[in-house]
Symmetry: C2
Subunit: 308 residues, 2 copies
């Protein structure tokens, strides 16, 4: 492997329809997006769920790239089969192996456009830093969350998620399409520069490191019994102070935040996360150095040597 | 029948979860809403769809109250069975017959809070006029649309829909809960006044009368190939002028509105309507007189005589 091959995925969740629509139009008119000479594999993550207008058929595809699931031959859930299929096609031993995977999502949270990475791989951070430099995108480092594993992009030696919101599920929205197209186009420019060795990395990246998630207040029977407080709804990326309103009950009672000062909530009121018992996630804003030997890691990645 | 019995429905669409949540909390704490002494039957329209987080299981329940469907004993779709069940319980010959049905919905469109009525029944218009007077709610008169029949509230001698948006499907949202509660509370105040004969109707009501719906531009294969223009997204109730932008293609081409001047779009980009080939509906704003004999109609309604 000596050429950079990029895997672009849309519709990993079947009810996030803006990126799949963009891909479909791009298939019809190649000129819509300039690939800058990059070799690209472009796929719909979960075509059956997209057809059904649902997040998934049997299980969340974006939690299905776990070795135990992939290797358990008794598991024949649709998403497990689909994950195996994607790995067989685009994984390291695949027919069309890719080194970098970029997975395009949308969210009902008012996150704007953002990047999600799942570990501290220097190449992920490096590519995220380029998008942050160019577009100012916030980066959510989703790590240390034992309840959530098996994200698609983790399976590839380098990969990140693009999240764009707010948008309802199943809704084509002008702003979301425009933002998805913009991030996709910038990403391809940066990856082409990366490939040609002409990129200059910033020294630092601002990350929002996952600390923990907060569930909705629930009754004894498990029903949600308070909603996100109006002052916190759509206030993603805004630090939360101890004692500030977090949830409200229907009788007007306010439930306040009791945790550490100045953590930063993200994915506030993502519709798909209520079933995962997540009303929002709390992060800590940190400034990290970009690894000094990142050029070497990228070079190794492109040449098929696993990066650090 | 000499007592007013009011049927309140939430969750007629299983992915519109704010009103069902409000009903659930209300069941737990009766004091949350003041019924003003009214006799109320309160139900979840589509409990199975609510459990599944879907609009419906087999068919749209809110298009299932058609005589032909209700009487076709071979039709055993879940929603047809459920419609029969609701009619058997709360219809004219039911165990707990109701004269007025109020059906609480939410929408992904930026409609704010509004009332939908489905015909020109004087009692529907009269109750809508009271809510308009008190809360300034716009009223969408959805009539003359042969492609859509069998709305729940049409089955009752008097009934209207409350629509509140914008909110994503499956999402508890503080504003939507607050607005739903407000409209519900005002409605019960007005109905109680109606029952006691102490209500003074306004002389006029502003209605937005349905003219026609517009589909998304589609390719030969039926795929949507343009999205709602950014200047029209979330511009419900704002008159549209001939030549103003309506849709946009991904290559930047703008498709303009070619119809009559000054019609008023509603339900712009309601996620559930793409499958119904509706990108938005066009209405005409009209000022109507409230029938002079509306008190008599209401009186007849309450006393079980079919109103005009």
């Amino acid at each position: 492997m000596s050429t950079l091959q990029v895997l672009l995925i849309a519709g990993t969740h079947g009810n996030e329809i803006n990126a799949p629509w963009l891909f479909k139009e791009w298939n019809k008119s190649a000129a819509i997006i300039n690939t800058n000479g990059l070799s690209i594999s472009k796929i719909i993550g979960n075509p059956e769920a997209l057809k059904a207008g649902k997040r998934y058929i049997d299980n969340d595809l974006n939690r299905s790239f776990r070795e135990d699931l992939l290797e358990d031959k008794n598991n024949k859930d649709y998403e497990t089969l689909r994950a195996r299929e994607i790995v067989a096609s685009y994984g390291k031993q695949g027919k069309e192996p890719c080194q970098i995977a970029i997975d395009f999502h949308s969210t009902t949270s008012a996150m704007g456009s953002s990047i999600v990475i799942y570990g501290r791989r220097s190449v992920d951070l490096a590519i995220a830093s380029l998008l942050q430099l160019r577009l100012g995108l916030p980066v959510y480092l989703h790590e240390g969350d034992d309840s959530q594993k098996g994200f698609l992009v983790e399976y590839w030696p380098c990969g990140l998620v693009v999240e764009i919101g707010p948008v309802a599920q199943g809704l084509l929205h002008p702003n979301i399409i425009k933002q998805t197209k913009l991030v996709l186009q910038c990403l391809l420019i940066e990856l082409a520069a990366l490939k040609s060795g002409s990129v200059l990395f910033p020294e630092r990246i601002v990350v929002h490191r996952h600390i923990r998630s907060i569930d909705f207040p629930r009754s004894g029977s498990g029903d949600i019994d308070a909603f996100v407080h109006a002052s916190r709804q759509a206030a993603d990326w805004v630090p939360i102070k101890k004692g500030s309103p977090l949830f409200m009950k229907l009788d007007g009672a306010t439930l306040c935040y009791k945790g550490d000062d100045s953590l930063v909530p993200v994915f506030i009121n993502e519709a798909a996360y209520a079933e995962k018992n997540i009303a929002m996630s709390l992060t800590k804003r940190e400034v990290w150095q970009i690894s000094k030997n990142v050029e070497e890691s990228i070079c190794n990645l492109i040449n098929g040597i696993n990066p650090t």
